[in-house]
């Protein structure tokens, strides 16, 4: 018997709870149940047997928490525990008709950015369990709440085993998991990654799971699994409130939705499985006709391409000096800022291109994607010409991204499409090949058809191929404009593919580019463009998209349009005219836009460094002094710093354009130490230090001790700021300082954080204790001038 054969049955039955049964046998709460595989195998075999007798087709080995993190203090290794567990399960089903699943639950620590566990380490932990469980028939990942953790798990299983994979996640009544994963994002991502069955388990009873299962059944063509709790436990008696017969009847209702695989989670027992099997014995499987739409997603948000969706093009260094500078400096915050600005302007998806000569593009892609997906709620389009860069991004992306791009060249098709398939992405297909971009619509259409056909041969759905008929500049190839649009129209109608187009290129070399751009955009939308790649910060472009949606009867009742343009936006309250607006006034009063504007005006006839030294810094000194004397408080201090930051941004842009180097007053490393993830204080320090003209290298949170040392040496840094907020992480602070001293790094060290005292700072060998962000600036001045 194997899983595939089992699926030919009307329904497939799993077992019920293990933990509940073990507690009934006397397991103490808090003891790792997996240790009983070795210490009390007879208990485990007995429970398995009861489930086999109750009619389970697949039993889950007692391996839910058998990972190296959870087992770390129990005295047994992962390999011996899992081997014993699978042996016990096999012992219970000697007839050979019952399959044994390697059951793997969450690791027990959250992944970055919520926790400190990296994706790569999570992969490694799952890999160890998968390899240890090689004698199973099926691999099950269950009770998952983080899609990212589950992706690491599925990759680990796919790459280290050929067993079928069942994935079930745990949803709450708000239709999301605890980490915010939505049902459609889960379905799109897991089906893309090649899971064999997906579903839900735990958290709720079968009644409450109904809407969740219903939604899931709409979004996947895979067999759907449901393994509910027996209701909810009573906090005092720990007893569940749904009994076997009621449970079975409710499961019968779920069967009408098209569920294939049934089991029980917390609180269930063999009685439940028996009752359920009986209740479903005269029911037929409900075949689902599922048409999964063209869509991409991040864990929390799915974007269905059923109307024009804007792809923001700004995360791309091409032709942008300031962006290049930020990339070279590894300034991830700048990239984040560019991303968030576009989303506020209306982007549905962000293109991410970090290719630049002189940087490690693969490494930068990983860094940028990790940073972006930890703050934004839109899907990303990974944009690179190098397959290795694409793969690195695809691997660590949390959701179903778009790959930009493949083209009609043999080499491109052979290297990119398999990646798209493996990681379950969508892909942009460019209508060009070995011979370049063809002139006519017909030739481009032919290439599009070839790409689609190759994609389908690779196992990629047509809905997941977005064709780009390529915009040529109107100034150079005026006759080509309509060829592009005609090709687009045919691709949409005849191939049934979604279409994508970079719009801004059309006007290159022309005056009044904006006029050309938004008119071209409207023409393309009318021809059937689904995914315009544009700069959403340009107001006329978003106006065009919104107007199109209104006129094309997509924006029903003009709701979106009215919400944007219906109310005349009231002018922001301007400071009173009697006050002649100065830079220090703007800084003191937290007027960001004004500060930037004044800086721009000043730059027309003032040296940038004069502005910094004679205006910005004295103004900051004043707010710093006011903060110290209690005239202003932390929010105001940070607001002022924010204004100064926007002024600096204007100056940096100015310098980047003129090719001048900004003067640095010295480099400072800031880091929240290993094990600690409280970084808000460190980030305030960073903003303030940057305002004083220091070049701050921000190593982030949970920073390895050695990394601080390496970075200090590599960049010749003479001041290091370390932050820790937990008594448990002070040890890493001490360790980092020790390591810096042992390596004779020529630097001063300042430390701060809630649990530190001046005495303790001295004891662990720091040079300075900074009680707040303001004081860290005073220390920097003392050390670096």
């Amino acid at each position: 018997m194997d899983f595939k054969t089992l699926l030919k049955n009307e329904f497939v039955f799993l077992d019920g709870a293990m933990g509940t049964m073990l507690q009934a046998k006397g397991l103490k709460m808090g003891v790792a149940p997996e240790t009983l595989n070795i210490e009390k195998p007879e208990w485990i075999i007995d429970i398995h047997k009861q489930y086999v007798d109750a009619g389970a087709d697949i039993i889950y080995a007692n391996t839910f928490g058998a990972n190296r993190y959870k087992l770390s203090e129990c005295g047994y290794g992962v390999e011996e525990t899992i081997a014993a567990a699978i042996k016990n399960a096999r012992a219970a089903c000697e007839d050979g008709n019952t399959l044994v699943a390697l059951d793997i639950g969450p690791i027990g620590q959250l992944l970055e950015p919520a926790g400190t566990l990296s994706f790569e380490e999570a992969y490694d932990i799952f890999k160890q369990a998968v390899v240890a469980g090689k004698d199973c028939d099926v691999i099950v990942f269950e009770t998952m709440t983080d899609l990212y953790e589950l992706k690491a798990a599925v990759l680990a299983a796919k790459e280290n085993s050929n067993k079928p994979i069942i994935c079930t996640m745990t949803f709450e009544e708000n239709m999301r998991t605890f980490t915010g994963c939505s049902i459609n994002s889960m379905a799109l991502t897991l089906e893309g990654l090649g899971a064999d069955a997906i579903g839900v388990n735990c958290s709720l009873g079968p009644k409450e799971l109904y809407p969740i299962v219903k939604e899931l059944c709409r979004w996947t063509s895979l067999p759907v699994v449901v393994k509910p709790n027996a209701g909810l436990p009573d906090p005092i008696t720990n007893e569940y409130n749904v009994f076997p017969d009621e449970f079975a009847q409710l499961m019968k209702v779920l069967a009408t939705l098209g569920v294939k695989i049934f089991g029980g989670c917390c609180g269930t027992s063999p009685e439940y499985i028996k009752a359920m099997r009986k209740a479903l014995s005269d029911v037929k499987y409900t075949d689902r006709e599922v048409k999964i739409p063209a869509a991409c997603c991040c864990a929390s948000n799915t974007v269905v391409i059923n109307q024009p969706r804007v792809i923001g093009e700004r995360i791309n260094p091409t032709g942008k000096k300031r962006f290049k500078e930020a990339l070279l400096a590894g300034d991830i915050d700048y990239i984040l800022g560019q991303g968030i600005e576009q989303i506020h302007a209306g982007a549905d998806i962000l293109d991410v291109n970090v290719g630049l000569p002189g940087i490690d593009e693969k490494n930068m892609m990983v860094k940028a994607v990790k940073a972006l997906q930890s703050v934004v709620d839109v899907p990303l389009q990974l944009d690179s010409t190098i397959p290795e860069v694409l793969e690195a991004g695809l691997r660590i992306y949390n959701g179903k991204p778009i790959v930009n791009s493949v083209n009609g060249e043999e080499k491109s098709l052979k290297s990119v499409l398999p990646l798209v398939k493996k990681y379950g992405a969508a892909v942009v297909g460019l209508c060009l090949d070995e011979n370049g971009i063809p002139k006519t619509a017909q030739e481009r259409f032919d290439i599009a058809r070839r790409i689609v056909s190759e994609a389908e041969k690779t196992g990629i759905r047509r809905e997941d191929v977005y064709i780009d008929c390529l915009t040529l500049t109107a100034s150079a190839e005026q006759a080509g404009v309509m060829e592009t649009l005609n090709a687009l129209e045919r691709v949409k109608k005849e191939l049934g593919c979604r279409t994508v187009l970079g719009v801004s290129n059309i006007s290159f070399g022309l005056p009044a580019r904006e006029i050309v751009n938004h008119n071209f955009l409207m023409m393309a939308l009318t021809k059937g463009l689904d995914l315009p790649i544009i700069n959403p910060n340009v107001e006329t472009m978003m106006q065009t998209v919104r107007a199109y949606k209104l006129l094309a009867n997509i924006d029903l009742n003009s709701a979106e349009f009215i919400s944007h343009y219906g109310v005349q936006k009231t002018e922001e309250k301007k400071p009173q005219q009697t006050v002649s607006l100065t830079l220090d006034y703007a800084i003191e009063n937290g007027l960001k836009a004004e500060g930037a504007k004044i800086t721009g005006q000043l730059l027309e006839n003032t040296d940038p460094m004069d502005i910094v030294n004679n205006l910005l810094i004295p103004a900051l000194d004043k707010t710093g002094a006011d903060f110290e004397t209690g005239k202003i408080f932390l929010p105001q201090l940070i607001q002022s710093a924010g204004v100064a930051q926007s002024c600096f941004e204007v100056i940096k842009n100015h310098l980047a354009k003129s090719g001048e180097k900004s003067e640095s007053k010295g480099k400072i490393i800031v880091a929240t130490v290993k094990g600690d993830i409280h970084d808000i204080g460190k980030n305030i320090v960073k903003v303030l230090l940057e305002n004083y003209g220091y070049e701050v290298i921000d190593l982030g949170k949970d920073v390895d001790c050695q990394r601080v040392v390496d970075c200090a040496i590599e960049n010749d840094v003479h001041l290091v700021g370390l932050s820790a907020l937990m008594t448990t992480t002070l040890a890493s602070m001490e360790e980092t300082i020790k390591l810096l001293r042992e390596n004779n790094v020529d630097c001063k060290i300042m430390v701060g954080g809630a649990v530190l005292t001046p005495d303790y700072a001295e004891k662990i060998g720091a040079d300075f204790y900074a009680k707040d962000a303001k004081e860290s600036c005073d220390i920097a001045k003392k050390v670096l001038g």
Binding site: K28, M29, G30, V31, P106, G108, Q109, L110, P113, A114, G115, T116, L117, T143, T145, T177, F178, T179, G180, C202, S203, P235, I236, N238, C266, D333, L336, G337, I340, S374, V375, V376, N589, G590, G630, F633, L634, P635, Q636, I638, Q639, A641, G642, G675, I677, H678, D679, I680, N683, I684, V687, M726, T727, T728, T729, A754, V755, L756, T757, P758
Partner: protein
């Protein structure tokens, strides 16, 4: 559970205002942040009641693998026959919101962080009331959390395990015993059938008492 209002004055105190009132502009920002934060969180808690015994050294939580170590928790649960183990959180939504704000507006990030700290205390207060109302004719101690006094913080992992907190409300811990989502709290409340003398809650058992920003100003954090 749903919060409709946050304890703003508490958050303002966390922001370092002491007895002062923020200026009007800051108050407006605090309003905005409160509204947004309330949209992003899903507060939840989980608890269980256990019998406790003492083996002289530490407090044993019956039916579990837990023993509560340290003089302070021992004193705290003195004369109690049972205790409540609880865990409360305002959920991962708050962490994400703060991360987003850190990338665009540090002022809002800091304010939201303080509001979120106030929010999880509110969740604990509500949880405490609900728990108490379900247990008639009992007397309770105040909430004592791992990390207070000499009650070791490295109990968090097992504490969460016993409550099944990861499955039930999504609370985990890092290897340094930081609870994630960040705005989460674990606590122990003693239950006695006789009245428990008030007092002791305050600076005495606090690790920060030697270097506390509130105490320096002659104030109190409210605990």
């Amino acid at each position: 559970m749903k919060l409709t209002k946050l304890n703003r004055s508490e958050a303002i105190r966390y922001l370092g205002y002491g007895g002062s009132t923020p200026d009007e502009k800051t108050l407006l920002i605090i309003n905005d942040c409160e509204k947004k934060l309330l949209e992003c969180i899903s507060p939840a808690y989980v608890y269980r009641v256990f019998d406790i015994t003492s083996n002289g050294e530490s407090v044993i939580v019956e039916g579990t693998s837990l023993s509560l170590e340290g003089d302070d928790i021992k004193a705290h649960l003195d004369k109690c026959k049972k205790c409540v183990l609880m865990c409360a959180t305002i959920s991962a939504g708050a962490d994400k919101l703060i991360r987003q704000l850190e990338a665009v507006d540090m002022t809002k990030a800091v304010i939201t962080d303080c509001l979120a700290s106030a929010a999880v205390e509110q969740v604990c207060d509500i949880a405490e009331e609900e728990i108490k109302s379900g247990l008639e004719d009992c007397f309770f101690t105040w909430r004592f959390s791992p990390g207070y006094g000499d009650f070791p913080i490295n109990i968090q992992k097992d504490f969460l395990e016993v409550l099944n907190a990861a499955k039930r409300i999504g609370v985990n811990t890092t290897e340094s015993m930081i609870l994630t989502p960040r705005k989460s709290v674990t606590a122990v409340m003693g239950i006695s059938d006789a009245e428990i003398p008030k007092g002791r809650r305050g600076c005495v058992t606090c690790k920060l008492k030697g270097n506390c920003a509130y105490r320096r100003k002659g104030e109190h954090c409210g605990f």
